[in-house]
Amino acid sequence: MDDNTRETGRRLAGWLLSFLWLSAASAAAELPPLRWAADAEGGAPYVFKDPDRPGVNIGYEKDLADALSRELQRRIDFTQYQFSSLVPGLERGDFDFAMNGLEVTPDRARAVRFSRPYYIYTLQLVVRADEQRFDSLAGCRSRGGVVGTLEDTAAERLLDELQVRKRIYDGNVEPYQDLELGRIDAVLLDTPIALYYAKRNPRLKFAGAPVGRGTYAIAFRRDNVALAQACDAALQRLLASGKLREIYEQWGLWNSEQEALLHEDGTQSAIRQAEGRWTVRDYLPLLLRGALVTVKITLLSMALAVALGLPLALLRLSRWWPLRMLATVYVEFFRGIPVLLLLFFLYYGLPSLGSRYGLESWFNLSAFVAAVLGFGLNYAAYECEIYRAGIGAISVRQWEAAASLGMPRGLTFRRIILPQAIRIIIPPMTNDFIALFKDTSLVSVIAVVELTKQYQILAKSSMRYFEIGLATAALYLIMSVPLGHLARYLEHRWGRGQ
């Protein structure tokens, strides 16, 4: 055997070894990790960021997922997903299952396949510690109190059923925050949330006994029967072995109610509500109410922005540099930060600042005022620049012609420059107006229900994203298209002679 043959043999052996190793590895990786979606944003005690280790998720559902992973002998990867979009996300195939305190409801049961229940929750009313007026939902309703809750939850439906005035939030933290600030009168949420957020807060207290009762279950795609069955079996084993109870006890969530889990055979028993059949006549009034809020916020914000933008532009054109500087800082600041951040700051940040200096009554803005102020301040920066460009586009010789007639600067600006600039200003300002009109959908983060939010709520509870979406789009167009026409008319009117 010469060197050459030996070399070939060694190479062959190497290839063979690599091949064997690769196929072994691929056998182990035959089942890709399961993708589990939940919302860790303000999600305690379900899944949330460990306050001590921000890179790590903890929570009783995280522990449950780990236990399931061991039972199924399969890795489970966490996917961050907006809670209110979990069901459509599952249908889209963004992940394999959603486990995030999803209550078993008829609407959801139509859209997804639920596992057997893994937790039995109740709803807890929480009020301020010094609340004397009522200690129950009925009491709250008779006094016209407003109750905060999460969107598309059993708590929200109970409030609707009892016709209690409600306010809808996106996260678990904000309702309790607003309750403390006196913006709402009570919060009705699932016991685990109340236990985690309100129990330890000395300024809040539980009002009355828990009400309602329902179950959490894992949601799968309807056609994913195999995974659903495997998980049901795994949950059954965790229940029987006492492992599930161990997890709940660790998080302070175990109570006698949970004994019933062993006997809950599946999902259907939890569904007691009648299935609603929605028609346009049911949801259109709600959409219109949302549209009204959108219009109100848009008109008031734009009025503020247009009114504030002009003096800002004048400051920017001032001959005195400190004034120019002031306006420049304003424009750069409000143009440079996201309006979402501004809304959060005005609504949640200002009150905490105010309480530090004893100015609560000044800084504790209502959600509506915060929305108008936020968009108004933000858009004023843009309108300022539009004014500035428009005014700058008028020749300095027009200023001179007016000056030679003895017209003072203020009069010249008002009578000669601004009327000519308006023609230049109107088109970009209309653009901003229409953009603002759509931007107002951001205000749902501070619990204002406008058109887009109303759409989300309706679409989620009816699972008719397409149909209601079309109706919503039509409403937006009905409002924005005439705006464009109005702008062209104004442009024409102000453009006389030019």
Binding site: A401, A403, S404, M407, G497
Partner: protein, 251 residues
């Protein structure tokens, strides 16, 4: 008859950055007379005119308009004097500078109504009278873009006259016009001389200067190099640069 006003410049210096535009200008325009400022381009004629009504500041010397005195930039003769001078002398620009969003009549009424606070009815009657005087009574409601250049310039003159000035500063007011339109504007100007208005006319229309001016000043490189009656300047120029300028223009 109201008192006639003269204009007097003493040692007026104007610099733009490093460039000297007016290099110690002395001249006196007699009350109620017409003065033509002529000379090569870039000689400082327009800048001089703009200094007289405060559109441009100057660096040294002084300018007297009737009882008012303008000082160089940074001196106490502030906005008050400038405003007073602007009330006495109107200005007509080469490119008209009518207000494009207002009709001819509205252009004329703007300052009387909002600066002098004349009653609308009275201002309107006077405005129409002025339009008639410049031969545009039928175009009162036309917007500037609907008027020819000559018509626009005549509206501009009427607009300046509406403030009842004692004089007009005319900055090459026919330069942007076609030859056949120049005459209608110059005719209006001739007409104004008989009213006792003091006219300061920067112009390239040497024929007009010769026929209508009482005094002629030749400006070159920021100085008055020669002045006198039209006959003296056009028929017997003493300065060699005046002779060269005239021969180039009249050639």
């Amino acid at each position: 008859m109201t008192e006639l006003l003269g204009v007097e410049l003493r040692g007026v210096v104007k610099r733009f950055a490093q460039r000297i535009v007016l290099d110690g200008v002395d001249l006196a325009i007699e009350p109620g007379r017409t003065a033509a400022l002529i000379g090569p381009s870039g000689g400082g004629k327009s800048t001089l005119l703009r200094c007289i009504n405060g559109l441009t500041t100057f660096d040294a010397g002084e300018i007297r308009v009737g009882p008012h005195t303008l000082g160089p930039r940074g001196t106490s003769s502030g906005d008050g004097a400038v405003a007073a001078v602007r009330r006495l002398f109107g200005m007509i620009f080469q490119d008209f500078q009518l207000f494009p969003h207002l009709t001819a009549l509205q252009n004329i009424l703007e300052a009387p109504v909002h600066v002098l606070r004349l009653p609308a009815r009275e201002a309107r009657a006077r405005g129409l009278e002025l339009l008639q005087r410049v031969g545009l009574a039928d175009r009162a409601d036309a917007y500037p873009r609907e008027l020819s250049g000559g018509q626009q310039q005549r509206v501009a003159i009427a607009r300046a006259l509406a403030m009842e000035p004692r004089g007009l500063l005319c900055d090459e007011i026919t330069s942007a016009l076609d030859p056949e339109l120049k005459h209608e504007v110059l005719r209006v100007l001739d007409d104004l001389r008989s009213d006792g208005l003091t006219l300061v006319v920067v112009t390239h229309e040497l024929a007009f200067a010769r026929k209508s001016a009482d005094q002629v000043f030749v400006l070159a490189a920021g100085r008055v190099i020669e002045s006198g009656s039209p006959d003296e300047i056009f028929d017997h120029p003493q300065n060699e640069r005046t002779q060269r300028f005239l021969s180039q223009v009249l050639a």
